[in-house]
């Protein structure tokens, strides 16, 4: 009973941590982008303010059951995948459900979110939402392939599909996989650009246009849930890559540093790139990232 309670406590803590880190990173990104674009930009805690504002707003209208369920689906995706990722190398702290799933499972549960978002957006009847969803799903097919190839390369190289297993190998040997198999790392990083949906892959949400993309019909608590899910999800992705390629983190500070450095890659890449059209981004992902993925697998098999 006590362990169950501890588990739940741990899970909630993990969630809060992910929420906080994700929100902060989001705010920092806004700031950095603004500074690069020679604007002043919002403070780094702006996202917290936004979230609080959204949470306290009451929702006036809804479009039906899926409108409610869509955000819940998204949340399931980010939270459950968070539960299955070791946050720290020392598993005593946040064990959650680390040993119960593996990478394949994680890949699948991570795509659960977009589908949920798609369903919620579909119910609203806003054509812009649906257009955004189709773009998002198409783009997802694009980046999932190199991403999966990178992961397969790792799994093949180390004969395990478990995240904790891969992490343990890194911790014990002291070698990070980003150096052991740099191609896999490149493919994963390039794929993660798409996952974050920052520029140049931001046609899905189309944030610079007014009220377009999957979220355009969501406001208030719907948007709050989506936003927090997004933040958690960003944390999940970063932690996952850190776990898989950068030897994990033995404590929170290292985790923050590593994830932040990692996070800067899509952010800076986005700042300097103009937006791609959907098919351009798909072909982008099936270019170099796919090639790297292929090389990674070959490297993993033969070396």
């Amino acid at each position: 009973m006590e362990s169950l309670l501890m588990n739940i406590l741990g899970a909630v803590t993990t969630f809060l941590l992910a929420f906080a880190v994700g929100m902060t990173y989001g705010g920092l990104r806004r700031k950095i982008v603004a500074r690069v674009q020679n604007r002043y930009g919002p403070p780094f805690y702006q996202n917290f303010i936004d979230a609080f504002k959204l949470y306290s707003k009451s929702t006036a209208i809804h479009h039906g059951a899926m409108h409610f369920l869509g955000p819940a689906f998204i949340m399931v995706s980010s939270v459950v995948s968070l539960m299955f990722i070791p946050v720290l190398t020392n598993n005593q702290w946040f064990p959650n459900l680390n040993f119960q799933g593996d990478l394949i499972f994680l890949i699948y549960i991570m795509v659960f979110g977009p589908l949920g978002m798609a369903l919620g957006a579909g119910q609203t009847g806003n054509p812009n939402s649906a257009i955004g969803v189709t773009r998002g799903l198409s783009q997802m097919v694009g980046f999932e392939i190199p991403w999966v190839m990178a992961l397969i390369a790792l799994m093949v190289q180390y004969k395990t599909t478990s995240i904790t297993g891969l992490l343990d190998i890194q911790v014990q040997s002291g070698h990070w996989f980003m150096f052991e198999n740099p191609f896999a790392f490149s493919a994963a990083i390039l794929a993660s650009l798409g996952m974050f949906r920052y520029s140049p892959f931001d046609i899905v949400g189309a944030p610079t246009e007014l009220a377009s993309g999957p979220m355009s019909e969501n406001g208030g608590k719907f948007l709050f849930v989506m936003m927090s899910s997004g933040s958690v999800f960003a944390f999940v992705k970063l932690t996952l890559i850190v776990d898989l390629f950068m030897g994990g983190a033995s404590n929170l500070i290292i985790l923050v540093i590593k994830t932040f450095l990692l996070y800067m890659i899509p952010v800076t890449y986005g700042i300097v790139s103009p937006r791609y059209r959907t098919e351009q981004s798909i072909t982008y992902f099936w270019g170099w990232p796919l090639f790297f993925g292929l090389i990674a697998i070959i490297y993993a098999v033969f070396f």
Partner: protein, 616 residues
Amino acid sequence: MDIINIILVIFFAGALITAFAAKISSIVQDILFIGTILATSIIFFLNINTNTETIINLSHINLTLGLTPLSLYFAFIVFGLAVLAGFYAVGQMQGKKKKGYFYFNYLLSIAAMFGILVSKDLVSFFIFWEIMTWSSYLLVIYNGENVQKTGIKYFVLSAIGAYSMLMAIVIIHSLTGSFLISDLISGFNNMSANMQILIPVLLLTGFGVKAALMPLHIWAPDAYSNAPMSYTAIFSGALSKMGIYGMVIVFLTLITKLPQETLIRDIIAWLGAITAAISTLWAIKQDDAKRLLAYSSIGQLGYIVVGVAIGTPLAMLAGLFLAFMHGVFKSTLFMVVGAIEKQTGTSNLKEVTGLIRKMPWTFIAALISIIALAGIPPLGGFVGKWMLYESLITSNHYLLVTLVFFSSTAAFLYCYKFLFGFFLGQEEKEWSHVKEAPAIMVVPMLILSLISVVLGSFPQLILKPINSALSYYSLPDTYNNLWKESMIFNKWGDQVALTPIVYGVAIVFIVFAVFLFFKNRKTSRYVTTKDISTSGEVPKEHENLTFKENFFQPFLRAVEPAMKRQMDKYMLAFAKGLEDLFDFTRRIYNGNGQTYAIYAIIFVIILLLLSNNLFS
């Protein structure tokens, strides 16, 4: 009489009586139809026994019937779907013409599938296979649309498959002197190397047709979409599994004994994966839900073929599990389309829209099945997909797994298109009259969706019979090894525990759904889908807010090169060319009696000239 015979006799008698009951009354026909299915299923489920064997003695051929654990597993699929789709069919066929024709062929094809499964010798296997083919052919052309194109295409492809199988059967008989499958298995080692290749290839061709494997799949989109949906549920759900069933036997018993084992396995697996990838792309392109699902079926069967072809214990588990799951969710989806078609009169995704509030139960069934199809945890589809990927990775098929993964990810696109097209989006006035389908149609769908949900948390329900089926063909026991209760492992010992996953997903989902619901329920009100924020403007009445055209245009533009070449077109062109050739050659018979006489003289002269060579 033996149970198997009784079931078959009931089926055949029931089919005939049902067909002729049209003279009496429509209700009686329905009752007889349902009665036949229920009676046979009840007899079957109450008397499951894999030990009995019935031998029907003919003068030179003995037909041996009996169940094996593997066929028992497939019989579950067949009978389960037959009953549910049967009830559904009664609902769907209300007020339609040619009910007797439909019921007759429906029952006959179920009987034939059962017959295939209980056949222990190749002749009865082939007999039932052919009965299945023609009864399903008659149902494919039931709607009378494109009968010459769709129907003939289906039949020709089926005939190619069946005849290559027949060729294999007679060759086997000439080599072993027996038609028994067990004799084939035991005598396979003594055959010459050529025959050892030829026989499996021929058999696989035969099964590949029904399993819609790559170059032989061209019948499937048309056939699946033209048959009545209540039958397509069976067609795609159970009938295609007969091909899988045959493949499983071939791979488990024959291919393993070959020196070229890995080569054949790889070829078939790659064919399966390519099938899956290409047909997924085509499914994304379809605007008709039936065709979308048809292509999706081909793709799903491709996964199953991959699993079966790879043939490691885990891959076999995956293939067979997916076979069951595909039967469950794909028949649900076909039923959904059927229900929508019955209620709205069309199955075009471009026309129908916004049915979620009109047909909520259908939507739930569709949603669950789509999630299962997409392989997203915690539903049953995930278990199969997981095992498939793990088996591919652990057996060193890295590019194959990438390809499979690609098609499985791309499948999300058509999944969404299906759900969005029918249920989500704008609620147009045109469909405001639509009502939920009758209960007799909805309940089977819901039961099937429930199965999808249950299997996601308790895969052992299905893994146990699969395990006994596999151990019958002397594969190592997989219990404790690859699965244990609701835990599944791979060869490297990595595991996925479904129970925590299901709990986790359920808890998170409920927490947030409840949160959103209770926080918003009081304050918010429902508004129609016309009342949306289009960039801050209020949309006017005449403005089109429905997004239907060119749904995945950007994606399709990106994958265009892969879709340029269509096997279908090549094959049709080939058939057309052949027919024209024959049309030309038949001019030998030019109508002039004298020419015929000249032919005769030429014939004699040729024979005389060749006589030295002919009669040495």
